[in-house]
């Protein structure tokens, strides 16, 4: 058969054939069985290619496709019927409207079909088959020009690690808050928290919320919002200013019975019990629903979405990002000053062993021990420790230990009766099995280890007898492990997960050999309390060479060292030779908490 004729067939398939050629082709088909056979082959080739092109990854570079067998296709069996879903997927039809038409008329013309499947449980299989038929047809019609369903038989790439990939539920981040007072019975959040869907409510103050799509809202209280998705929020009460960069175009605020769709840049919205209004500060919004459905508002234009009055004050007066920034800075500065005053009072506490108010320190390699009780226990930065922003904003500093070589070394000689450790820490992630807060170098008798396990549990321990070779059952590893020395680790429940990344925490641990208890605190609240049993009792405590934010093992016998640097920031740490009460620890938290806590 000539290329000429074949060309006509391709033209017919591609929809480019002329009437004259179409007639010629039909003549040829009528005249020869071979032409007919070739025509069928060519049409079928086109259908096959369409099916293959519709498969996911059909255009991927590698030709390593599964061997073409039927076994690779998903089959669902219902009793004796095996319904090849894929064949539904491959078959193509007009539309879902047609589909329901077919389903309905199939049943209609079939007489009593629709009633059968409901009449008795004995017809379950029939019912299932009917469902398959209906859903199958729906699927079948819906599949036109769409990719095939996921191939359940091969189940994707089969990367087992993906299963444990951490996930956080949420749609926005609470970026900044100023003078915020939370409503009673409403969820309270911290700066940096991820906001889930649902109500977000406060009585007074200003909150800046960054939606994941890129839109950012400045909301003035009293306010009540219902977060719907990365792209939409319902404003139930309050005033907001929405800033919508190009990436977030289409961001939607629902207010009264209307949807406000931002087509770019900035608008303000006020919702009260009786009225709601919008004003475009810059750019364009579209209104949908309600009485103004389809209206577009441009820069400077206002519209009542509900109610209305003539003498309303312009919404231009709403806080801008700059206002919030300024107010935030002012409030930060005030908070910072309050903390400094409290910190000065703390320094003269005679119970202090060492005190590092890193937040107020300058860019030096030495971190002074500011405790008035003296002792040359200054710390020295070693390795790539970053000076970064502390918990009172850019005016304050913090030390970041996010690289394995980063450490703050100190040496604290002396013998102590008790320990209270307290610090402010911002955890970016718990990258290692153990993540150091404060670690005695050698972990010799009486020396403390304070760290966080990768599952978010706080750990505090003191070496009791480093000459013993102890074996114990480790619950995490589900096996007996060998421990160098007799000690006991006191754990809390997990206090941190990745959703809390970047938040500041006040952590404290009280080791009380006299009272034979170990207490641990998070943000001023006690989270665990455990007895020190006789076996693990030790009266004489020491520290010696130690590190903040890492674990130094300078006397180890091998070049290998454990990686325990903290991927996070510490901006204050105090060590007392005493057991602080819960009230005192709570007071430390109150005096030192950053804005928005």
């Amino acid at each position: 058969m000539g290329d000429d004729l074949r060309g006509l067939m391709f033209q017919l398939i591609d929809g480019t054939i002329s009437s004259e050629d179409f007639k010629r082709l039909q003549d040829a088909i009528e005249s020869s069985d071979d032409v007919r056979k070739e025509y069928l082959r060519i049409v079928n080739l086109g259908e096959s290619l369409t099916e293959i092109a519709n498969e996911p990854n059909a255009l991927a570079a590698s030709p390593e496709r599964d061997a073409p067998t039927n076994s690779g296709r998903p089959r669902i069996s219902i009793d004796t019927f095996a319904v090849d879903l894929n064949s539904w997927g491959k078959t193509v039809a007009a539309s879902n409207a047609n589909a329901s038409g077919l389903a309905a008329s199939a049943f209609g013309s079939g007489g009593d079909l629709r009633r059968w499947d409901l009449r008795s449980p004995g017809l379950l299989i029939a019912a299932a088959a009917v469902l398959m038929f209906v859903s199958g047809i729906g699927f079948w019609f819906g599949q036109q020009n769409e990719s095939r369903p996921i191939d359940v038989a091969t189940g994707g790439d089969g990367d087992a690690r993906e299963i444990s990939e951490p996930q956080i539920a949420g749609h926005a981040t609470l970026r900044r808050v100023v003078d915020l007072r939370w409503s009673k019975d409403a969820a309270a959040y911290h700066e940096g928290d991820v906001l889930p869907d649902g109500l977000f409510q406060f009585e007074a103050g200003v909150a800046e919320i960054d939606f994941f799509c890129g839109a950012s809202l400045i909301v003035e209280g009293p306010a009540k919002l219902d977060v719907k998705s990365d792209w939409s929020v319902r404003m139930l009460e309050g005033r907001l200013r929405a800033n919508v960069p190009p990436a977030a175009r289409g961001f939607k605020v629902l207010a009264a019975d209307a949807e406000v769709i931002d087509l770019g840049t900035e608008f303000a919205l006020e919702v009260q019990a009786d009225n709601a209004r919008i004003e475009v500060i810059d750019g364009e919004v579209e209104l949908r629903g309600g009485t103004h459905n389809g209206d577009h508002l441009l820069t400077g234009q206002k519209q009542w979405l509900k109610g209305g009055q003539d003498n309303a004050v312009s919404l231009q007066s709403l806080s801008t990002i700059d206002d919030v920034q300024r107010r935030c800075n002012d409030a930060q500065a005030e908070r910072f000053a309050q903390w400094k005053a409290a910190s000065l009072r703390l320094r003269v506490d005679q119970r202090l062993i060492a005190y590092y108010p890193i937040a107020e320190t300058q860019f030096e390699r030495t971190v002074r021990n500011s405790a008035a009780s003296g002792g040359n226990f200054d710390g020295q930065l070693v390795g790539p420790v970053n000076r970064t922003t502390g918990r009172f904003g850019v005016e304050s500093s913090g030390l970041e230990f996010d690289r394995p070589g980063a450490r703050l070394r100190t040496r604290i000689d002396g013998e102590f009766e008790a320990f209270t450790f307290a610090c402010w820490v911002q955890i970016d992630s718990l990258d290692h099995r153990y993540n150091a807060l404060f670690m005695g170098d050698g972990y010799e008798n009486g020396e403390p280890h304070w760290q966080i396990r990768d599952d978010g549990c706080l750990m505090f321990s003191v070496m009791v007898d480093d000459t013993q070779d102890v074996r114990h059952f480790n619950g995490i590893d589900q096996q007996v492990v060998r421990d160098a020395g007799l000690h006991r680790v006191y754990y809390t429940e997990p206090i941190w997960d990745v959703a809390k990344s970047g938040q500041w925490f006040h952590l404290a641990a009280v080791y009380d050999p006299n009272g034979r208890t170990v207490r641990q605190y998070v943000n001023g609240d006690q989270v665990s309390r455990e007895e020190i049993i006789e076996k693990f009792h030790i009266k004489s405590l020491r520290i010696g060479a130690a590190e903040i934010g890492n674990w130094g093992q300078p006397f180890r016998q091998t070049p290998w060292f454990s990686v325990r640097n903290l991927n996070g920031t510490i901006d204050e740490l105090a060590i007392f030779n005493a057991t602080l009460t819960s009230e005192e620890i709570h007071a430390l938290y109150e005096q030192g908490k950053p804005l928005g806590y």
Partner: protein, 193 residues
């Protein structure tokens, strides 16, 4: 009394029959659809004809009496294809004024040819996959992209800046290559079988 019993019997039979019908149609609609496609000059109308065919098959399912139980599937497909041919003819008759409609004789001849090797179509489809995998990446991409949803030679030409005419002749050469390969594959398969 007697009548009532008879009705109950009919309902039960019907239920079973419907069961059977749904199972057969669900499993073999693709074969029937392919057959319909071969009788029509383009994909237009395939959905309509399939829909009509499915309804007609159900209406007449009582008349479907396979000679031998082990041949039920084969006979069902043939039987449904006969119905489909009839529906394709009448669909074309309704669309008679359209330019691209086959003459009835062409449809009849094509249906005879298609009926004679119904089972070959699926083998061909499998062979196409094998043949594609033997192609060079860019060749395969060109062939498939023409058939990908929403694509056309004109679009690809606009995207790549290549002349549509040149693309078209490359595509036709590749399609011919594929046809030859498929033919060879099937010959091998039949030979091995």
């Amino acid at each position: 009394m007697e009548r009532e019993e008879k009705q109950t019997e009919t309902a039960a039979e019907r239920e079973q029959r419907y069961n059977e019908f749904v199972g057969l149609l669900a499993r073999h609609d693709q074969s029937i659809r392919r057959f319909v496609r071969l009788l029509l000059p383009s994909r237009d109308g395939v959905d309509d004809v399939m829909q009509e065919t499915a309804l007609e098959c159900w209406k007449k399912f009582a008349d479907f009496t396979p000679d031998a139980p082990e041949k039920t599937v084969e006979e069902f497909i043939r039987w449904a294809c006969v119905v489909a041919r009839y529906k394709a003819l009448s669909w074309q008759r309704d669309k008679g004024r359209d330019r691209l409609v086959f003459r009835e004789n062409v449809i009849e001849l094509l249906s005879v040819a298609a009926m004679s090797d119904l089972d070959v179509r699926e083998l061909e489809r499998q062979a196409v996959e094998v043949c594609l995998s033997k192609m060079q990446d860019d060749q395969r991409r060109l062939v498939l992209s023409v058939y990908a949803p929403g694509q056309s030679i004109a679009l690809i030409a606009a995207e790549t800046g290549e002349q549509a005419r040149r693309l078209y002749s490359r595509l036709n050469a590749l399609r011919k290559l594929l046809l030859d390969c498929v033919r060879q594959q099937l010959a091998e398969e039949l030979g091995n079988g």
